[in-house]
Subunit: 366 residues, 2 copies
């Protein structure tokens, strides 16, 4: 059996909603309002300016913030933000920024920050093999830090914070790449949020940044234009040719979230139901499926688990692919199984996976 | 009448070949070899690794270079290269790099280079209003320069070099964003070539870089990973999530160039015929259409001209749009008319435009 889009559990780039794919398909030949292929429309056209404006506003509406937040659509992924944030907020500072080291991706962010200025790793999960997140009693944030940085959802390990961290007198910077717009997030408590698109909101090639205006008041602006938030703000994400196609797809996804799903609170309910189905399958498997994350810190986006042996895991992956499920292999850094259940993955698809897991367990349990 | 893809003379993002658009349309729902949407395929999949490998090789084949040239697919456009080149080759150097200031885009590259190290502007067309390029007798390049940088085709002014500049003992770095793969270019005489995709080879969001291996031998590598050519080389353009969709489209365009067109020499013949048609129209218009560029330096990609008055230019643009021709407005920096006739624009489309221009002139000449 061939893999099916509807059963694509890839860790990213992830599946997109079927109704969005249908619209994108039309736009490849002709965007209805324009009459031209989306791949050949000028980024300086009035139409594209209206795309940017609508998308900026949709994201503000979905997150419940007002226009003291700039909304930017940049290139370079979260990786570029790992550098742009400290280039802007840490370079030349004497007080250290507080970073949390909670898994694979925050482990990538920290060395890039250290290139730019002093960093204090306020907590690290390295000793515990990154299978849990810190409690509030384990965290002490400095009032002098230029900012605190953390990742809301670690996709590799399947760990997710279910609360806002930090202190209200220090700017919060958060990498929400893998759970952006998957749930209400109290966005107004953050000074800067970034998220690449390829998990919940679009194709690889565009990154959304929300930045509170006052954060940049005395920020470093002595940077090349494309690394300077201010140049992108002034140009409404049209400082240099933006990734027009990827931005258009994100617009379609934002409309889908608003009009078909009904906003991020409704999205969160669906995502809760999906995750619950799979975690129940783990918890009721008599140890056949062993969840990686501490129960309290389980991700609603990435359900990461192991089977009794590497051989059994390989069998699971090949049987699953045969049944139409793709993208279930764990991240190359840690192996095992990962079911990524981003926004576009339907409850029905997750029910089918749960059914497959139940059948597989019955056939293979000791 | 609605604008038509086949008559899209946009300066960029430009039109793509019809046969490529049809394949892209299919891939939005399902890439034939994979069974999944191109927007939801992992960048770590074997399939995507084969896309990168085939595309690297296609570009080497089309340009006639061997694997001492690394071929990279990066984000950030030519703008990012304006900075990456001097960050890598100029930072910390005492001898100035030689830059040519030939128009709007080289005027953007030079200040970014100056941020990183000493720059010598070896020639500037500012005094002549950027309507011509320098002859060899006007150029004196330093043997001590870390490199010479120029732009092969200035899209805004419609100026194109029809020869290789510089000296063989100094590395040549060339921005070929707007004429890459439009003609044979003696690629092996350059140490670094970069080109964003959105003129001749794909959608906005990906930039091709060719870099000769030895150029990086004593290059600065003390850079964030995403700004370091070496990290992208080692990872075969998979250092962080690349723009999968845009890269796939460039692969399809490279196949079209090889299999349907027959390579860059054939492409150049077609492009010559197209440009000749339009320049002949200018030259035979009794001064009604006034070409901007000196005849010797006329671009085969962007035919830039004026009409007797701004009112007449507005009328030309609106009549053209009515007739199905789009994208003909000159760049906002200089106004006027610009017909961009990149690879995907067919000879037939150019013939239709020439016909329209002839009719318009007859109707409106004094």
């Amino acid at each position: 059996m061939k893999p099916r889009n509807s059963l694509n559990f890839s860790g990213g780039p992830g599946a997109l909603p079927e109704s969005v794919l249908r619209q994108v398909q039309k736009a490849i030949l002709e965007v209805p309002e324009v009459g031209l292929s989306i791949l050949g429309i000028s980024h300086r056209s009035d139409w594209f300016a209206s795309v940017i404006t609508e998308l900026e506003n949709n994201i503000r509406t979905l997150l419940g913030v007002s226009d003291n937040y700039h909304v930017l659509f940049l290139q370079g992924g979260a990786t570029q933000q790992f550098s742009m944030v400290p280039m802007t907020l840490l370079r030349g500072k004497t007080h250290a920024a507080d970073y949390l080291h909670t898994g694979y991706w925050s482990g990538k962010a920290i060395p890039e920050a250290k290139r730019e200025g002093p960093v204090n790793v306020a907590w690290s999960g390295a000793d515990s093999g990154f299978n849990r997140l810190p409690g509030d009693d384990e965290l002490a944030f400095s009032a002098d830090a230029p900012y605190i940085h953390y990742i809301s959802n670690e996709t590799v390990e399947g760990l997710q914070f279910h609360r806002v961290l930090g202190r209200d007198d220090v700017p919060r910077v958060c990498d929400m790449s893998s759970d952006f717009l998957s749930r209400p997030c109290e966005a107004e408590r953050y000074s800067l949020i970034y998220a690449h698109a390829q998990k919940n909101i679009g194709p690889a090639g565009v990154t959304v940044v929300l930045v509170r205006d006052e954060l940049l008041n005395d920020a470093n602006a002595d940077l090349p234009g494309f690394l300077n938030y201010r140049s992108h703000i002034q140009a409404h994400s049209n400082f240099n040719t933006p990734p027009v196609f990827a931005i258009y797809v994100v617009l379609l996804v934002s409309r889908w979230l608003m009009n078909e799903i009904g906003g991020v609170a409704s999205m969160a309910e669906i995502n809760h139901s999906k995750a619950e189905l799979l975690y129940r399958m783990l918890d009721n498997s008599d140890g056949f499926y062993r969840g990686r994350a501490a129960v309290r810190d389980r991700s609603l986006m990435n359900v990461v688990f192991n089977l009794p042996s590497p051989e059994m895991e390989r069998r699971f992956l090949s049987d699953a692919l045969e049944a139409g499920f793709s993208g279930l292999a764990g991240h190359r850094a840690i192996g095992g199984i990962r079911a990524s259940i981003y926004n576009a993955l339907t409850l029905s698809a997750v029910e089918q996976l749960a059914g497959f897991m139940e059948d597989f367990r019955r056939a293979h349990k000791a």
